[in-house]
Symmetry: D2
Subunit: 364 residues, 4 copies
């Protein structure tokens, strides 16, 4: 019951602590016969990787996937896909200062409360390094979804005070992938991106950090995915996103705005377009009653600012139970949003792949 | 894989369509020896029930729980608790008009796409009547949590444009339960409640509907609940809430506001208070790295306006594939928020009870 | 984790104690659109029912299924199928004598050790009355399997010293169903059946009981069902059978006899017959490496003698911890085998239906 | 749903094909704070390893475990334990002959039917090499069980016609471990062991193979483990054993013999011994109604003869669909029993550890 497994049919189980030997996982339930583009998987991983550019943490981790099983001659065998990434750039010394101090809004304290063990170097299992496994599995899921005509996109829509107007009618725009990758913060609007970059650089020099919002879009999902009660499609998407480090909120379709809307403005009228039934607006976010309706699915994910700041903070030393003042010196991001974009995409892919497979069994 | 089960150890499986024979469920994993206050369970169910007052739907459903197993002499046996509520007030005629029209933002269309069957009367399995089972199981979970000193509260903080300032420092207020129950909309501030009531009455007369927000609070949770990776405590709370009918968003602690905050203002400094370690602010919402830290847990749940409005709407007739105009005549709420309060509470209880039990096994 | 759920996709969860209100369950994952022959389900239940004839316990329990959800106009909706059977013929007085005496080889003692509660009347959750739910769900599974051309048969092959030669080449015979039902002990060979009947009658008059063996056969299973590692098809069949009350052993194909065989005699040579690949012998029992090979699947299930005998026995009184002598007076079977035949069939159907659905997802 | 996960709380997920990169797994749910004796784990693995002595296959695979996560300073962290063993001694050439011939009673044919892919070299995922992961996880489970005073033993009781009288009263003997390890076939009776060794050597020279039986014993299990319905303790033990390669049958306690016994001889009378309640006989095999009763648990596991024989066999060539005659040349065991002993022990440990943890949650 340790909570390291995600999914019911297309299923990922992960292991690994940052600063341990390796990070990795097992993917169960991927159908046999899928061609795996290993370069695509590695490319997704590179998007998540530290040290990509001057805006993210300079820890330069190679993060090369090693494939252990389940793939042969470039195709899935139908058996579990085992994979790992060895941890190479471990510098526990960087964290020496913190050893017994509970870092504010980090998981040191709760981790110690839960397991009665303190894993001194970095965040152990709670480290965002664990998301490597998600990106690998999510990339495989995206290759599978491509076979079924489904595509996923994620991009940055808010960093601190700077936001992209993310909700044109009837739903957020699907951008050319290059416009996202050209931006150091993965915001497809160049001028907003520029403001965000400046803001992050500014915070870096001050030793402070910022939160932000990532928007996800899914195109090509057929009507019918999702289960009517607990495993509503958006409930599983929400859990997927909330399980990503630093996430504080999830909304889909009209989201929190729905709270102040009238039924008469919120309802999406059914219309016929190109000979098939669709809706003229998309407040539903492509999901009605927990089941996809064939329109684009979209959602927002809110991230808190990184907890590790390079400003003096007050806390408690767990050994002495005394109040102490300290300042972090480790290498950290001033904003995780750019590196979190591929993680959001990966988690969305895991959910949709799982539900696509589940949905194959609902009719005789 | 039909998604009608929630939880891993304290586990609820539900069955039942509105307008079928009965609604009910099986609770597995409730420890033996728990005294069940059957009146409390029924009282929670009555809070969810239609026909409570003039603001909610006049369908008067008795909703009396029948206990089938697992309880003897007022105590749990440790065996599965089977229960049901027979459907008594079925008036399919009320829905006659809609039979082949896809009601906008309802699940008729997607349900038919998924199962290739149209359940003509009401929403079938997608009906909010299914939440009866959640409230019953959630009430049992609340009785269990009480044994461990944990209490849950939920109340209305937004209906349309009218909101309660839900975030005083360091977290939303814990109100006297009576102040919530005295309000017809379950908003503990009498003057805000009055505005909300007026607003709903106004919409009723117009045939329109509104959305809203419910805030949940959990007190007495020990540090250590939640798992570090996929089953983070807030991820399971998020999924629980998003699985409730009409929910569009979930945030905990600082929530979406975190996106625009600085790390230096968001971090919760550890302090010592009454000889134990706590934090002076609570942007974390009682959860760090997915694990409870001993502070109060709080979260917001956004609901969309009810889809059934009594105004003329345009849609498609599924038999003819023609555009039609129609007007609903059934009995429906103008706002589900007041009746959803006990459901939010119930789902929170299911999550916390499950994680409390899971956490008993993490140390030797 | 209470262990009341069986299956992964076609999934049964049960509730109910004998002498409680009702016995029942929820079937999840049955595809939508299956025509349900309610009479067949009831007929299967009648085969399990006490009081069928003079050889079985005279408790006359009607065991009428009440359908609560998931079926409409004779077809499955794709939603959970809830059902129950009310307990009507409860006579706790019959058991009065035993109230605090641990009945030898019954579960009174272990149940009390586990839950610290003694359910005084009958065996509570451990009673074979729980198998009602299995027979109901198994009947639905059999209707589903019929759609796919798969049929299951079970019959008695051993009662005490009297046995049917169950292993002709290449596998046990598939008998005309009537030849099984004509036998009071469900043994298709009339002369062996007669010996068995005499033996049971003889034991009834002496107050003693006997064990036996049931053989199961499954025809029409396509090659490919079962998973290569833990969920081998025969491993799931074995668990299914061993979960039936009073079962002590399970073997498939050559079974225990394989221990003394040579590889050169045990291997099943592949041959071509009617233009498709099959084997000339069937020591594999239709399963190789945990995966069905298209031949008939067959297995044996060993049952212990009923624990409730009407002869004086020695035991411990749980209240006084003293040795006591006692004699049972309740109504009980001298041999459960005849009534267990439909249960074996039901459990086999649950396993095959689940694996058939799982196997739909293994290839792109 | 690929069936590569075993257990519910103490949970093992495995990956790896023989002749692929590596074999390994993830153990979830092992409590934090357990001291791991890495030498014990390796020693268990060495007992399973090919090339131990002249009776087993001469493939000399080092099988060194690499630990990837979850253990630090010799103690478990509470996080998933990742581990692997690289495949070093891959000689696909040995199998060249067979490439398109379906080896009789092997899984080539069914594997190809299921996945529509033929993994040409060796058995892929169906190879017994997968059991490395079970032995590693089972060794960790045994270390955990030792903390709770529970010990497991397994030994050979039958090879071909040579058997050890395995059922003295009231249950099979617990032997000094050395007496098992001194025997090349892991049969604790030196004279029977000698006969078995001779028999295997004889078969080796003839190119034939034999089956056998392994008996398992578990001591120190407290009363109360196991769940009353589907997850009966012996049902989970049975599934565990039947999931091991080449197993054809499982029985516990009186087993198949129970079929011919009378209730009056089979019932285990409760008695008081050393001030606690036990039974004077143990036909129950330490389990009543699926729940441990505090007595020793014992069971038998039947294995078929190895399918790979070095005698001419007839089969079908999958490419041409023609009957062919062929003779195996690869390196294989004439009898798997000696190497399967630690696997039986490992699987028993996984079941008991899981149920011990589950049982911690059944009472308030």
């Amino acid at each position: 019951m340790a909570g390291s497994t995600f999914g019911t049919i297309f299923k990922l189980t992960t292991f690994g602590e940052s600063h341990g030997q390796a990070i990795g996982g097992i993917i169960e339930g991927c159908p046999a016969g899928l061609t795996i583009d290993l370069d695509f998987v590695q490319a997704e991983l590179n998007r998540r990787r530290p040290g990509q550019n001057h805006l993210v943490t300079p820890r330069n981790e190679a993060d090369q996937v090693q494939w252990l099983s389940g793939i042969k001659n470039g195709k899935t065998l139908g058996t579990p896909i085992g994979f790992l990434v060895f941890n190479t750039d471990q510098k526990p010394a960087d964290y020496a200062l913190n050893r017994s101090i509970y870092r504010p809004s980090h998981s040191d304290f709760v981790y110690e409360q839960k397991y009665q063990i303190r894993d001194e170097n970095g965040g152990g299992r709670s480290s965002a390094r664990e998301t490597i496994s998600r990106v690998v599995a999510g990339a495989i899921a995206q290759l599978l979804l491509k076979e079924w005509g489904i595509q996923i996109q994620a991009y940055t829509t808010q960093i601190g005070p700077y936001g992209l107007n993310a909700a044109p009618t009837p739903e957020p725009l699907w951008y050319p992938p290059a416009s996202i990758e050209q931006s150091l913060v993965r915001c497809p609007d160049a001028s907003v991106s520029h403001q965000m970059e400046q803001y992050i650089q500014d915070l870096q020099s001050k030793g402070d950090t910022t939160g932000g919002i990532i928007t996800g879009l899914i195109q090509g999902v057929p009507a019918g995915l999702g289960e009517p009660v607990f495993d509503k499609l958006h409930a599983d998407l929400g859990k997927a996103m909330l399980s990503i480090n630093a996430v504080k909120g999830f909304e889909y379709g009209s989201g929190f705005k729905a709270a102040t809307m009238l039924g008469s403005e919120h309802n999406d009228p059914f219309v016929i377009s190109n000979n098939h039934i669709t809706t003229s607006t998309n407040h539903s976010g492509g999901i009605q009653g927990g089941i996809s309706n064939g329109s684009a699915i979209y959602f927002n994910v809110a991230f808190k600012p990184v907890s590790t700041i390079k400003l003096p903070q007050q806390s408690i030393d767990g050994l002495t139970n005394q109040v102490v003042e300290f300042t972090n010196t480790g290498r950290h991001d001033a904003c995780v949003i750019p590196r979190a974009v591929p993680i959001v995409q990966a988690m969305a892919a895991l959910v949709i792949a799982d539900h696509y497979l589940r949905n194959k069994l609902v009719r005789l």
